[in-house]
Symmetry: C2
Subunit: 195 residues, 2 copies
DNA sequence: ATTATCTATAGATCTATAGATAATGC
DNA sequence: ATTATCTATAGATCTATAGATAATGC
């Protein structure tokens, strides 16, 4: 029954990874410890030897999800000649809209996160700050408004757009909303009216 | 024990109103039927004579919450010489950020709603469409982009901004984010860079 | 000997149903 | 007689804990 320390550590990491996906898919209250542990091939009883509480896991899984999302942004930017367009293309896409378990945690858990304790909200906050830093680098200095404000507006726009696009049953409207947000993103970055 | 038909109808409405608040405060999975009924001064047992299921109540309460939010927008607009500013002032405010139970359902339940069945998502969709119509009237025709796209971007921006502002533990950053979104709203409406 | 994970369980809560109660409405 | 609401309960699930088991690590 007992496994090596290395395996135990790997199991712990596995549980956090599984949780970061399942919490995004079903919400913090939508999945129980039994299913979270089962997702990692373990049973419920071992949970409290690895984690203090479900809330503790929620905080760890949220941090991991946000860090993964930030890495995704960074790598999208590093690999493209038009970094802003790259971010817009993957974030405001039908693919991301459908990808609830692996997509942006701010979209998958935004309203859930707002109801959590500071312990769980902090990882989201750190992730938001990291996202804003990435966005600031994509915003041209000078022009209208400071880059910090532009980044905050841009992140709000993108998170809001994908959230709304996931709620909509009307797929055409959902598509149009993502397109409208993409167009607006370019306007924010360009600091001038489109067309 | 039995009450008049009029009273029974009033009780039903009361449960829906209570639910529209409590779901927003705690999420669909964060409150049980017992507490929902208790909030209306009733007991759990009567629930299924009034509603088909918890999901049925979720749909009804979501519709009521969205309709109430739409009315709030309409009345803010009707009563002001600068309607857009009025919407920005109440929506992107610290007051609205703190008002989870009575504030915008798209913010309070956005990520929860995205995980619900079409039955529950539809009321949100109808509310989104109503909000977009109101916003379209506030967007000047001509200029950059069509009013429909501008309204979609504006709603996404506002919903995203208040959602993020509620997650943030850092209140100063939360305030600045709301301000940045307000500034961006004016740019969208004006169709030209600020400053 | 230590300990990672297991089975088992406590005690609370969840949605939903059954049947009793008592007031309405015919 | 009908019916809105009540108490009570079924059966499932939730978080958390207790103690057994068996493999690791000294």
């Amino acid at each position: 029954m007992r496994v090596s320390r290395a395996q135990a550590q790997a199991n712990r990491e596995m549980v956090i990874n599984v949780a970061s996906r399942l919490f995004r898919e079903r919400g913090f209250d939508g999945i129980g410890l039994k299913d979270l542990m089962k997702g990692a091939g373990l049973t419920q009883g071992g949970f409290y030897k690895q984690f203090e509480s479900k809330e503790d896991l929620a905080a760890l899984a949220s941090r991991r999800a946000m860090e993964s999302a930030t890495r995704r942004w960074s790598s999208a930017i590093a690999s493209s000649p038009d970094p802003l367009q790259e971010v817009i293309d993957f974030y405001l896409s039908a693919g991301h809209r459908g990808e609830t378990g692996d997509g942006c945690p701010l979209v998958a858990l935004g309203s859930d996160a707002a109801r959590q304790s500071a312990e769980v909200r902090r990882p989201f906050e750190d992730g938001i700050k990291a996202h804003l830093q990435v966005l600031e680098e994509l915003m041209p200095a000078g022009g209208a408004g400071d880059v910090s404000s532009k980044a905050m507006a841009a992140l709000s726009l993108m998170v809001g757009a994908v959230t709304l696009s996931r709620i909509l049953v009307d797929e055409k409207l959902s598509d149009r909303l993502l397109e409208a947000a993409a167009a607006e993103m370019k306007r924010i970055a360009a600091s001038e009216p489109a067309d």
